[in-house]
């Protein structure tokens, strides 16, 4: 109970009795209030000083205050370094005695010094911490022309505030067959509040035979809510590629969020095995409406539109496939 009653209040007789019982040991404590100093040689002076000084009226011009501080300083408690805060208005400014230090700066003793700089074992509070984030931005079923597809797009990081190891993965399985799958591991270094340089490796598992790339790029936030990535890749066999990605969160409410996304891939040369041609390869745009039951769990519905361009489009048409497709999607956005 936090009641600090200053005057007795109408409580039961029992309360009074209990009070008396508790009062006994406490008054004993009170009588012993200076017991703590008993082992210090200077201690006996202390009550005396209290008596003589009468804190309330204490004039700081009195040299005795300095003497007293020194005396008690030897007592080993950091002494009577009384802060005279509550006794103000005594005009320290005019007080320019021989003592170079003002009364609120007592002389130091070896005991003070020992107390001030205790020997510590190595220990650093509030140091660096390792954090991480793994986001499945897309984990969804797509209603494709030639069946059903499972599509994922995930990214995450582990590290500190400036340097982080980034991972990215995206892929698609259609009718139980992996159409495309890739994984990237990139070292990211913040070059400003809003931009990271990233560089590392990308491994494609599909389409075609596995392909390894080196990747380098920049990612960041050009304005609030817009996440962008631009990454250039150099692959085996002299292939090169550039990918631009962006997504934005539009708050219809604080839980119902519309997310436009886009991904554009460009290629340096033709690669018939994997169905890509040089130049602008493909553009994918999506619009997903999610509901954040919690920040970390948000089911969504949406639509994606995908189009192949140039040589890539030609290759698809040659195989009898469409170069453009719109799909309805349903999925879950998760993060850990």
């Amino acid at each position: 109970m936090a009641a600090l009653r200053k005057f007795p209040t109408p409580t039961s007789r029992a309360a009074a009795l209990a009070a008396a019982l508790v009062a006994a040991p406490l008054s004993a404590l009170g009588a012993d209030e200076h017991a703590g100093h008993a082992r210090h040689p200077a201690a006996p002076a202390e009550p005396m000083a209290h008596g003589a000084m009468d804190h309330g009226e204490m004039g700081h011009g009195d040299e005795a205050s300095d003497d007293m501080e020194m005396q008690h300083g030897q007592g080993g408690h950091g002494g009577m370094r009384m802060d005279h805060g509550t006794h103000g208005g005594t005009g320290h400014a005019q007080r320019s005695s021989a003592v170079s230090r003002p009364p609120n700066v007592p002389a130091l003793t070896d005991a003070d010094r020992a107390a001030a700089f205790p020997v510590l074992s190595a220990h650093s509070p509030h140091g660096r911490s390792l954090n991480s984030f793994l986001l499945f931005d897309k984990l969804e079923y797509q209603d494709a022309d030639d069946g059903s597809a499972l599509v994922w797009d995930a990214k995450g990081w582990i590290g500190g505030n400036v340097d982080r190891l980034w991972v990215r993965s995206e892929g698609e399985r259609t009718n139980g067959r992996t159409e495309r799958a890739e994984f990237q591991a990139l070292w990211g270094h913040a070059i400003g509040p809003w931009w990271d340089l990233v560089g590392g490796l990308r491994q494609d598992f599909k389409p075609g035979s596995p392909q390894t790339w080196g990747g380098f790029g920049i990612q960041g936030m050009p304005f609030y809510g817009l996440e962008t990535e631009v990454t250039a890749y150099l692959g085996e066999g002299g292939q090169s590629s550039l990918r631009l990605e962006g997504d934005y969160s539009l708050l219809l409410t604080n839980r119902l969020i519309l997310q436009p996304t886009t991904e554009i891939n460009l290629y340096g040369r033709n690669d018939r095995e994997r169905g890509v041609g040089s130049g602008l390869g493909d553009v994918e745009a999506g619009l997903r409406l999610r509901y954040e039951f919690t920040r970390q769990f948000a089911p969504y519905l949406g639509v994606t539109w995908n189009r192949l361009y140039g040589e890539s489009g030609d290759l698809a048409r040659a195989k009898g496939e469409d170069d453009e497709e719109t799909r309805f999607v349903a999925g879950i956005r998760l993060w850990f």
């Binding site: 936090a2 509070p125 140091g127």
Partner: protein
């Protein structure tokens, strides 16, 4: 004589409380059964405290709190000015612990900060704190290890003065405000690191945009949205952690628990408000009652009568109220972001309650709030980010460690702010204020023009003259910096892990100027020494241990380096401290 009376009446209060509880007369909410004990009142000069785990149920879900002597808050400790107190603190947790005596002047090895004052208290260990009490007033104590100050390691600390107090009252209550989460605070911080807006469910939506277009017009609204978008911030970002996870407590009671303090009409009641929250500022009022503020951070101030005050984390305010005719009055402490409130009642008898006000409208930050000039209106906001970017790109040379002794120190404002070189281009600095001002007479966002008389720092005047009297010998300017999206906090763009200690010379009087380069409020606490706040002209205003720094503010204060040793200096928002807004201040001979 005075002390004797006070001691005896205290014992009475304790015994009465214990008995009420014992007889079951104390009205405890059903869901609180099996919870922690109510805090005891321990007075004297010799204390045994044990930090351990205690089952609690503050929200309907059972959780384990870390507590002092089994209660949440911990026991109220009552010391007497001039006494030497001994406190044996035992650790019954399976991790290190510590206790820091907030605002108390003491030798550095008694200050309770692991890594600076001592090694902490190992599991099963004991640390004996022992120091002379050189001050009086309302303070508090709390853990300084891990996240224990969030999970229950805090309690009130009252130091009775040797001399009579300059005001009278018949009743005396501690009103300790705090925030509680059922989540593990370490998880809360992890979430903020992943998604800093995790707990903000009041961001602006498409609907708000349409409403703003209707109210301010298309051009102004688009310009204002562009300004915020370019800053990569949201004006709804008032608190990092909200009522989404927090339950706000008053003396350890959730709002439904309705902590009640009794009065008789005509009595003067002293309320010792302490904000023991980890992350929450409160706006406090008692509808129907004027509050006379008589002390701030334990130190007497010239009495000032107000309807409402904002209490930063770790601050304390003593107020006196005089309840009259009503049967009950509500103690209403709404969180700054209006996402919840702590509540209690002053009543003539147990079981009464008064209407609980609805939380005020949620404020939005303006560009002016952030110190970006007088751009109160959206239409003007578009100029802010451009200039802002320009600032960020400026080369400020070797400002970082300059002695700004000659600089205009009062925080008079109205000038373009210069920033430390260490902020320039730093990935951990997402904003720099352009024209910060002291804002001493500003009630703060959400409290302006609300029809109530709201306390400001300009109203606070210590009831004594500058206790040191010397003019500061030098000026140390520090900027509060951070990156909202990364949830990384620092001074001058340098987090604690990379920072050198600030070195003060024993005995020197210096001026510290703080500039807030973030959009958040920060309660800045210097251990071991007082912070003597100055007005815009550099005159002594009020002695404090924790200074609120709203966004866009520049405030200066004087420090007498009269405490040898290594001291913590930090933002008292626990997660800001933990992520780097922390410095060691080293006072050396």
């Amino acid at each position: 004589m005075h002390c004797k009376t006070s001691r005896r009446t205290f014992v009475k209060g304790l015994a009465a409380g214990g008995l009420l509880a014992g007889f079951g007369l104390w009205r405890a909410p059903v869901w609180a059964l099996g919870g922690p004990d109510r805090p005891a009142l321990l007075s004297g000069s010799d204390f045994d405290l044990a930090i351990g785990e205690t089952p609690v149920n503050l929200t309907g879900s059972p959780r384990i709190a870390t507590t002092i002597n089994g209660s949440l808050p911990g026991p109220t400790l009552r010391w007497r000015e001039g006494d030497t107190v001994t406190l044996r603190v035992r650790n019954r947790l399976d991790e290190d612990t510590s206790i820091h005596w907030h605002g108390i002047l003491l030798p550095a090895n008694m200050d309770g900060v692991p890594g600076l004052s001592f090694d902490g208290i190992a599991p099963g260990g004991l640390y004996e704190y022992r120091f002379k009490v050189k001050q009086s007033g309302t303070y508090w104590y709390h853990g300084h290890s891990g996240f224990q100050e969030q999970t229950g390691v805090y309690g009130a600390l009252i130091v009775d003065p040797r001399e009579p107090e300059p005001f009278q009252y018949e009743r005396d209550y501690v009103v300790m405000l705090s925030d509680w989460t059922d989540e593990n605070p370490a998880r809360v911080l992890k979430k903020l690191k992943k998604q800093s807006g995790y707990y903000n469910f009041h961001k602006r939506t498409v609907g708000d945009f349409i409403a703003d277009v209707g109210e301010h017009g298309w051009a102004a609204t688009v310009a204002e949205r562009k300004a915020w978008a370019a800053m990569r911030m949201t004006p709804t970002d008032l608190a990092d952690v909200s009522g989404y996870t927090y339950t706000y407590l008053l003396n350890g009671q959730a709002p439904a628990g309705n902590w009640t303090g009794l009065f008789r009409p005509g009595e003067r009641v002293r309320l010792r408000f302490i904000n023991a929250s980890a992350m929450t500022y409160f706006d406090v009022r008692i509808p129907g009652l004027k509050m006379t503020v008589v002390a701030a951070d334990g130190q007497y101030v010239e009495p000032v009568s107000v309807d409402e005050f904002r209490i930063a984390v770790a601050e304390t305010y003593d107020v006196i109220v005089e309840p009259q005719d009503a049967e009950a009055y509500t103690l209403f402490a709404q969180s700054l972001d209006r996402s919840g409130y702590a509540r209690g009642t002053l009543a003539r008898r147990e079981g009464l309650s008064a209407p609980v006000p609805a939380p005020d409208p949620r404020p939005r930050l303006s560009m002016a709030d952030m110190g970006h000039g007088g751009m109160e209106h959206g239409a003007h906001g578009s100029t802010a980010p451009a200039a802002h970017e320009g600032m960020a790109g400026m080369d400020h040379g070797d400002m970082a460690d300059m002695d700004h002794g000659a600089m205009n120190h009062g925080g008079a404002g109205g000038e373009m702010q210069v920033h430390p070189a260490s902020e320039t281009g730093s990935p951990l600095v997402d904003m720099q204020t352009m024209m910060p001002t002291a804002k001493l007479d500003d009630p703060g966002f959400g409290l302006r023009d609300n029809g109530r008389r709201v306390l400001t720092y300009a109203d606070l005047r210590s009831a004594f003259a500058d206790p040191d009297g010397r003019a500061p010998g030098r000026t140390l300017e520090l900027h509060l910096t951070g990156h909202m999206e990364k949830f990384a906090w620092s001074f001058d763009g340098i987090p604690f892990a990379d920072a050198e200690p600030l070195r003060l010379k024993y005995g020197e009087r210096l001026r510290i100027v703080l500039v807030n380069d973030t959009m958040m409020t920060h309660p800045i606490h210097l251990h071991g020494m007082w912070s003597d706040l100055e007005d815009e002209q550099g005159n002594f205003l009020v002695r404090k241990h924790t200074l609120d720094m709203p966004p866009g503010s520049k405030r200066s204060y004087r420090v007498t380096a009269n405490a040898l040793g290594r001291w913590a200096y930090h933002c008292h928002l626990m997660f800001h401290m933990e992520t780097g807004m922390f410095r060691e201040v080293r006072v050396e001979e």
